[in-house]
Amino acid sequence: MTASSTKSSTQLPDAEALLPADAVISSARAADGHTELTVDRSRLLEVLRTLKERPELDCDLLLDICGVDYPRRDQRFEVVYHIASLARDHRFRVKVPISEDDATVPSAYGIWKAADWFEREAYDLFGITFEGHPNLKRILTHGGFHGHALRKDYDPGQRWLLTEEDSMVPAWATEELTDEDHLESQVLNLGPSHPATHGTLRVVVRLEGETISKAECEIGYLHRCFEKMSETHGWNQVIPYTDRLNYCSSMINGVGYALAVEKMLGVEAPPRAQAVRVILSELSRIMDHAVCLGANLVDLGALTNFWYFFQPREEIYGLLEACAGGRLTVSYARVGGLAHDVPADFEERVRYLLDYIPKFVNDVEKLITTNKIFRDRTEGIGVVSPEDAVAWGWTGPCLRASGVPYDVRKAHPYMGYEQYDFDVPVASTGDTYARYLVRMEEMRQSLRIIRQAIDDLPEGPVITDDHHVALPPKEKVYTEMEALIWHFKLIYEGIHVPKGDAYSFTEGANGELGYYIVSDGSGHPYRLKVRPPCFAIFQAFPHILEGHMVPDAIAILGSLNIIAGELDR
């Protein structure tokens, strides 16, 4: 790992001086701009608390907690915390090495509520115990699962019969409660197969009348071992799997992943590839918001808007199909650029979409934005304060609806977003209506970005000519010896990503989509951790629900845009 990035290091506070004395074993500037701290377990909470509370550091956002397994080290596991400061624009990566025999760390839930599900995930997949966690149980795998799937010595081929009975009912749901009028409260199971979950989620709620007094979410029904599978696939072979994360905007996932690998390799996609990535990503963002709002409105009974949104979505899919061949799962991005160039009529089709999409957005706007019933249903429903939103690790439109103007495209521009002129819409009320408004406006802003990007779409190649990374053109492989060798080496050995780790983050349709990649220098990732935006958002859902009614639960759920593919991975 090289300590670089001299430009920004001057702005950063000297972390070690501000942190408790002797708590940090080592600290370094990582190549990805993060300050990397290695901390002993006994001093962990102290360091984390200082990071959050010291005004010079002010790290209010816990983005991710994950485990990494190094079976050959003395201290086998490493727990990695990704922490950011919204105001000060710096990021920390805190690593805690722990041994296998005593795989426990103190829980960070008391510092950031966002730690809740991330710690459960690390417990589930690595068997790391977080002491003091309020509800430490498996989250992505079934309660009766044997072993911890992401440990390197876990054999994915093993099978066993599931004999333990696990009804997956939370303990509180089985106790019978009666109020002073001897009216029993009722436990209702929303999902995993329920018309409003739009995916396989499960929410268990306790009802007093129709008011929810307690709720708990159960996820993992769509767990596909994305991270485990990545460890046995080549760097480019991971891209089809990323499509299945947030399948409503699969382009963004693929691009985000490609950017993360490019960051580690130190290569950059050519300008044309970058512009096409921006255009298709923004179109995907429009689709994602359209699906989210459309589904949310269907849940509120306004069916027509769903179709108004699906019409432009269909047209965008047409364009994606022309570019990538696939519609829902595009697999179009590659490490170093794009799979192939866009079709000849690309510009024409994008301009057609630029004229076509606003009509439908405006129709919905006219139909619903000032509708009395809609506003009664959404205003003041599911209010999340900016402090809570940050504490839960929210990012993206949901965070901006609560009044925090954080957008990765503005705060840490990538892929040339700094060239484009666009606004980051922010609402202040943090309710379901605000989330609707923010998404509506973001679609318009995305159109603005696309218009600028298509106006000066550069000519040239769409994939890097660095043949350590990308295959040489086919005609050269057939005619030139050197190209043939490159082709052979890449196919046989894969891309050699230098040893080390990096966290790369992009603005997904629903928030900060992060990829934490550890490479051991071989042809496939050693560890790939996705930071799915809706994982952080959904963990707050049961807490938002309390005091609302069942119809409100549906309205709130729709407005959070929970995509099970991304949530469960």
Partner: protein, 348 residues
């Protein structure tokens, strides 16, 4: 042939068969109409595969529902579960016994004497309609309760509360018509609009609005479709029903839409009367048979129903109650006072 036998058995039987047959056909095609209208509102095409332009779709639907497995959930109250669909569909059709579709007619000279096209005219027809249509709520509540499903039960309870609360302002809206017509007979109400040369919608606009809103709520249609709010309660009270039993709930909903539309036509839009019965130069409109006017007005209401569905989101349960008790009820009471005052002043 024996005169009473002919008059009291044969003719009513023929009428019953015709009304039931035509009604079933209309209801079946109403589902098709709804899908088509909604499709065009929602920038899509709607069913267009079965038969020419999809015209045989209702037949296909009916066949599908008939051959579907008839499931009764394990913990259900079997008898009540079977009874509920009947309890909802019978009253829905029964109401059409007193709906006057048109004046007595010789059917273009085909019949020896003029026969009224409706089944019967009773002097308490309006009460009969209100009473019978209220039975439908038993079907919903019992069906939801017997299903042994929490979603069904919640849907049923919502529906019960909703139908009862909206019946009150609806009743008051109808009272304002009674004040103007001076009769409970639906035929007399139409005739009163003829003799006063005025559809009751003009003096009773407020009453009409309240009646129609309540009518939409009574039939559990958008924006008041909470009992079967499919996103929250899966399918509400009929979650556990399948096959023909489900079809009965479905048909009853559409029949009830026809009931509310027919009643609105009779009470406020002059039933079978042509538009502006008092304007002489519009007399050429009289060549259209009265029955067609009636059908057109009902179709207009049905379209509004579908239009609502294509436009509005759904109310939340407590908001629905709020609208019913805090807005519609006081308004309808005020309307009764207002109409009463006007009637008193005009008629002396």
């Amino acid at each position: 042939m024996d005169q009473p036998l002919y008059q009291f058995i044969v003719i009513p039987l023929v009428k019953i068969v015709v009304i039931l047959g035509v009604l079933s056909l209309i209801v079946a095609y109403l589902t098709f109409f709804e899908r088509k209208v909604l499709a065009y509102i929602q920038v899509r095409l709607g069913p267009n595969r079965v038969g020419p332009r999809g015209w045989l779709q209702p037949v296909a639907d009916a066949l599908k529902l008939l051959v579907k497995e008839d499931l009764v959930p394990g913990g259900a109250q079997k008898f009540v579960f079977m009874l509920a669909p009947a309890l909802i569909i019978v009253p829905a059709f029964l109401v059409f016994a007193v709906i006057p579709f048109g004046p007595a007619t010789r059917l273009f000279g085909l019949l020896p004497e003029a026969i009224p096209p409706y089944l019967t005219d009773v002097n308490i027809a309006l009460l009969f309609v209100l009473g019978i249509s209220s039975i439908g709520v038993y079907g919903i509540i019992l069906g939801g309760w017997a299903s042994n499903n929490k979603f069904s039960l919640m849907g049923a309870l919502r529906s019960g509360a909703q139908m009862i609360s909206y019946e009150v302002p609806m009743g008051f809206a109808i009272i304002s018509v009674l004040l103007m017509a001076g009769s409970l007979s639906l035929v007399k109400i139409v005739e009163a609009q003829q003799s006063s040369h005025l559809w009751f919608i003009f003096p009773g606009l407020l009453g009409f609005g309240i009646y129609f809103i309540c009518g939409v709520a009574e039939t559990n249609r958008n924006p008041f479709d909470l009992p079967e709010a499919e996103s929250e309660l899966v399918a509400g009270f009929h979650t556990e029903y399948s096959g023909m039993k489900f079809a009965f709930f479905f048909l009853a909903e559409y029949t009830n839409m026809l009931v509310v539309s027919s009643l609105a036509t009779v009470l406020f839009l002059g039933g079978w009367l042509r538009p502006f019965p008092n304007v002489a130069w519009l007399g050429f409109l009289g060549i259209v048979p009265p029955f067609v006017w009636f059908a057109l007005k009902v179709a207009g209401f049905i379209f509004v129903y579908l239009w609502f569905r294509g436009t509005f989101p759904r109310y939340r349960f407590d908001q629905l109650m709020h609208v019913g008790w805090k807005w519609l009820l006081p308004l309808s009471l005020a309307n009764v006072l207002l109409v009463g005052l006007i009637v008193l002043l005009v008629k002396g």
